[in-house]
């Protein structure tokens, strides 16, 4: 049997990736520009015995997927800016209670209702710090449909491995653009299944006691182990505690399990970086324009390359240092006011060599936009 090849929207590529990863429960609420994810899953999920529900609001959708994850299912919700704001409290709950789940945010212009049908990449910092309190988060992105598929599968794998919510931060251009997707054969991309406890019924089970390798085996609701799940600080049985040692230990654990695995989670692509004096750093749909201009300037003999980030959080600092520390100029290409640029500046040896090439008017940043900004940076005028 040949490979299945489709010509579809990015939102559908996300649906294909989620189903490949083993998604069996989706709860959502209509919002532009992510609605196609809900529409397609409402048709696809029941065909495999999975469940789709359109909840009464964004908050309820986030809560419902957490409930469904606890019965042992791979779960997803999808939204955009305003909905992502509404989901933040429950997202923090998933961080605290260590619930595997995946949240898609197909970014549109903000703040508030903003520009619903136009592109933006302004939710990078919200993905990191949208929910209150100290915590870490995993956030992946992609610039084309093949990568949307791969990163969606990876989001489920990370969620299950580390018992954590994972944010997929796409943007309107990638979500609505149509292009080719080749669906990998089953088994071609390895899938991480939920780690369930081997502890037998009647024997004390600790849902919140990490094993030596840091993983926490789960037990499905309805199975033999009855335990407590709470957003309060809790002990290894899941029961509330305000003992300073337990508070400290839990906060360290939920942060360290992510921050100690930055390398494992760091996904990125490099283009023409071997001899690059000018390094563009980009992600999502902006990386497409960045690559285009890199290839066109290469043809004119310029030593320019692209670092495309697919993991935004935890921020891949070592990767940034490796490719940007020795560059004469680093230019971060993004459709916001410099959210990743600030991170790059605070990471590299020479922050004064880091510049921003952005667009924030709802229009897609084009190769010409980037070319003009590069000329300005080099003092050549447009």
């Amino acid at each position: 049997m040949g490979k299945q090849i489709k010509f579809i929207q990015g939102n559908e590529a996300c649906v294909e990736g989620a189903l490949y990863a083993g998604l069996d429960f989706f709860a959502g609420y209509p919002i532009t520009p992510s609605t196609e994810i809900a529409e397609h899953l409402s048709a696809r999920l029941p065909r495999k015995g999975g469940k789709f529900i359109q909840m009464e609001d964004e908050i309820a959708s986030m809560c419902a997927i957490i409930g469904a994850s606890l019965t042992g299912h791979k779960v997803l919700t999808a939204t955009s800016g305003p909905g992502f704001s509404l989901k933040q409290e429950a997202l923090g709950y998933a961080v605290m209670a260590e619930i595997p789940c995946v949240i898609v945010n197909v970014q549109r212009g903000g703040p508030s209702t903003g520009v619903p049908t136009h592109v933006s990449q302004g939710d990078v910092m919200q993905a990191r710090w949208g929910t209150h309190g100290d915590h870490s988060i995993v956030c992946l992105t992609a610039s084309n449909h093949q990568d949307v598929f791969a990163m969606t599968v990876e989001a489920f794998n990370i969620a299950e491995t580390f018992r954590t919510p994972v944010v997929l931060l796409f943007d309107e251009v990638v979500g609505h653009m149509r292009e080719r997707l080749e669906i990998p054969e089953p088994g071609e991309i390895p899938l991480v299944e939920r780690l369930r406890t081997a502890v037998k019924g009647g024997v004390d089970y600790h849902p919140y006691l990490p094993r030596e390798d840091g993983r926490l085996p789960m037990s499905d609701f309805g199975d033999v182990h009855r335990y407590n799940v709470t957003g309060l600080v809790h002990d290894m049985w899941g029961f509330p505690s305000d003992n300073p040692k337990i508070v400290y230990g839990l906060l360290r654990h939920i942060v360290d399990k992510i921050e100690n695995n930055v390398e494992r989670m760091a996904h990125y692509k490099t283009f023409y970086l071997e001899d690059a004096e000018t390094v563009l750093v980009s992600f999502g749909s902006s990386a497409r324009s960045a690559l285009h201009i890199v290839e066109s300037l290469r043809q004119r003999g310029q030593r320019i390359g692209l670092l495309e980030l697919q993991t935004l959080w935890p921020f891949p600092k070592d990767v940034i240092r490796q490719y940007c520390n020795d560059a004469a100029t680093t230019v971060v290409v993004e459709m916001n006011m410099g959210q990743v640029c600030q991170m790059v500046k605070s990471t590299v040896k020479h922050p004064e060599r880091v510049f921003l090439a952005n667009r924030i008017d709802g229009g897609f940043i084009t190769p010409t936009d980037i070319k003009n900004i590069l000329r300005l940076i080099k003092g050549k005028g447009v």
């Binding site: 469940k51 994850s69 309805g222 509330p240």
Partner: protein, 267 residues
Amino acid sequence: MAVEDYIRQRFFPHLWCPGCGHGIVLNGLIRAVEKLGMSRNEIVMVSGIGCSSRISGYMDFHTLHTIHGRALAFATGVKLSKPELNVIVPMGDGDALSIGGNHFIHAARRNIDMTAIVMNNRIYGMTGGQYSPLTGPGMMATTAPYRNIDQGFDVVEMAKAAGATFVARTTTYHVTQMADIIREAVLHEGFSVVEIMSQCPTYFGRKNKLGSAVDMMKRMKEITTPIGSKKKAENPELIERGIFVQTDRPEYCSEYSQIIERAMGGK
């Protein structure tokens, strides 16, 4: 199974104030479940935030203590993803009908099979006595120092209007009736709402000079009457208790299983 087997004894004494009605609800719940003879592994108890919500921690079921107002939304995810589980959702009045009002009406509209228990003490207790949508006009609260002007909801009317297929009311004074009603509610296939009028002597009682917990419970006996009683005809001010609605309507998870059949190629 003995009653004490349904509780997590190591967490007692509980955190509720002396005289609080919520312990009586705990009692009624356990008696109901014990009579039903259900396995503890089949029951998931989902609660929100507030005094009432701590009830889940004391019970030896699968327990999910969530965020303020959202218990029914979490519970919907649990139930739809694993319909064979019995889902019981104890909530406070502010939890269920103020911050959680939207989830309450939509869970009722869907008629998803779970039991919502509204432990109505007419006040936000955990935060120290602010008025709730059940406090009612003329009452005192820490945020209503000149008396409350907010009209209250009637939980029963609200649940009926939203489409709940089992609606009942009882009080902490009527603990035998409470256990019977909860048992019926859990057995009912569809969305069940049980309002349990409960007393908060610490805040609602003290602010409104209602006397001791015993006085407040006696008052619950005096101001309520069985549905359709002669007393109600004589005094329309009395609050009725008993089962108001018990009807059959398609249940959400059963309906969804038909969606799956249709999607898989059936009719």
